[in-house]
Subunit: 307 residues, 2 copies
């Protein structure tokens, strides 16, 4: 089944200790689609300015990303530029120019409204709610958010949480949202407010999936070369949703595997600038890394401990 | 088989957001023994002053910790006091009074010298080397260290690394020692200098075991209440070495399980002040938590990915 994604489509200028990319493809919907389309069809809703190099997105179209919901408006595209610290763990935003994204009001094409799988990229919770008003009966809705919205749109965000199945946030956001430094308690606080599932992303330390019945940890993949962390979280979401939509089930085992696929796609994202790594990423490379994750985490119980 | 541990035996005064303990049992050898003795016999070598409440260690003796190597010298015992931040992630040392520990020169009793399993707690690398000169033919030697020795005794520490099988450090120490922020590269750097195995502890984010052939991740246990983080690393080492000595093997599967036992014992350590949690910890509680770790990390490969 196809996945509907609504989010930003941007041009990123990124400087890392290893180099620099100017006006490279960026934005949450772009990273998400680049990853999720490796699993199946994607429907993208976003906005770009009349300066956007649409040709650069043709690799997505060729791979089954329906760009019918990508509006081109008069004006400048959303541009972000930032520079990463030497250890890649912190980044400084040099400039954010919202351009046409400032007036983005997602309009879901009629053909997309019966979407079963929906990912609400990190945009204003008001707009995320507006998307939910336009889709008919989604089976599974996941959303992302950020510190800004937790700060200035808390009420709308809490309203959104009551209408989504999964929230994906990083550890700092989970702590900020819940007001609790302890992640186990923060998770419970968030799940008490709506989402049946919660994923807390911890960057190089991996990700945790909380479900009503269990907790699942996926480690970070120990890459010797991390090139550009931009978009890793959205690529994670793309791998996660991509696997779920592909298998069409939401059993505990499916969700756990989806977290691993998310971790795998996130780990590939950081190996190159922008979405470059996804252009020629093969199914074999993905499956190899899934097996590597299993190899890194599997252990047998002692005989006398039973299962 | 018995495990020989050499390290500090101290009195800790600890203040956390949840309370305060004065002159409580502390020190690396104390925490290590409290955990390791739940798996089998331990031989402890350390020094205390004539003010030390030796009776308080009787629970260890009753459990098979041989205290024949615990020297009592004239003077004050090693005392440390510190206060933890509200989130327990940072601590400030208020006072360190080395007392008789300043002149500690480990003397390994004759009966301990044929130890097969040796843990060198965090003391001056010179003294750790001195211990190795006194034991005959250990089968497996693990050592801990800290930022101070990496800083001021680097050459001796590198000499020690050539003589141990396993180094246990936290992520900051691995980075400091190798001069590389990337943990995967830092691990390779360290293992190129001697130890066949390396464990990098990441506190709440878990621990990573590096072997010549594989990498294994254990998550941190998601406790809703962390009471006092003091000694968690030494309790981890105690659980790790305890399981290895108990099973008597060093296969990849044994080492992985040992990391889980280490993580389990570390997670119990932080539930109470000092070594309190180990006094009545039952084998069933340990095995239950081992199973919980497995439940938190297990996932099945998709059918088509094979193994």
């Amino acid at each position: 089944m196809s996945i509907l994604v609504v989010g930003s489509v941007a041009l990123d200028t990124v400087e890392t200790p290893f180099g620099r990319a100017d006006d490279a493809l960026g934005g949450s919907a772009t990273f998400f689609s680049s990853a999720a389309s490796l699993f199946g069809p994607v429907q993208l809703v976003g906005v770009v300015g009349d300066d956007y190099p649409l040709d650069a997105l043709s690799f997505l179209a060729e791979r089954g990303v329906d760009l019918a919901g990508l509006e081109q408006a008069r004006g400048e595209s959303f541009r972000w530029s930032g520079v990463y610290s030497f250890d890649l763990n912190t980044r400084e935003t040099l400039e954010t120019r919202l351009g046409v994204f400032a007036d983005f009001e997602p309009k879901i094409p009629e053909a997309f409204r019966d979407a079963e799988w929906v990912f609400l990229g990190n945009i204003d919770p008001e707009l995320q709610l507006g998307v939910l008003d336009q889709v008919y009966q989604p089976r599974f809705v996941a959303c992302d958010t950020m510190n800004l919205w937790i700060d200035i749109k808390r009420d709308r965000l809490l309203e959104l949480l009551r209408r989504v199945d999964l929230l994906l946030v990083n550890d700092a956001e989970a702590r900020q949202l819940s007001g609790d430094h302890n992640l186990a308690r923060a998770a419970r606080w968030i799940m008490d407010r709506g989402p049946r599932y919660l994923i807390i992303k911890k960057g190089e330390h991996g990700a945790i999936l909380f479900t009503p019945h269990s907790t699942f940890f996926a480690p970070g993949f120990p890459l010797e070369e991390v090139f550009d962390p931009t978009g890793a979280g959205d690529a994670f979401a793309g791998g996660f949703m991509g696997h779920l939509a592909q298998c069409g089930r939401l059993d505990d085992g499916d969700l756990r595997r989806a977290v691993i696929y998310g971790s795998v796609l996130g780990s590939f994202a950081v190996e190159r600038f922008s979405v470059e790594r996804f252009k020629d990423l093969s199914p074999e490379e993905i499956e190899d890394r899934v097996r590597a994750f299993r190899e890194m985490t599997v252990f047998e119980l002692p005989v006398d401990a039973g299962v």
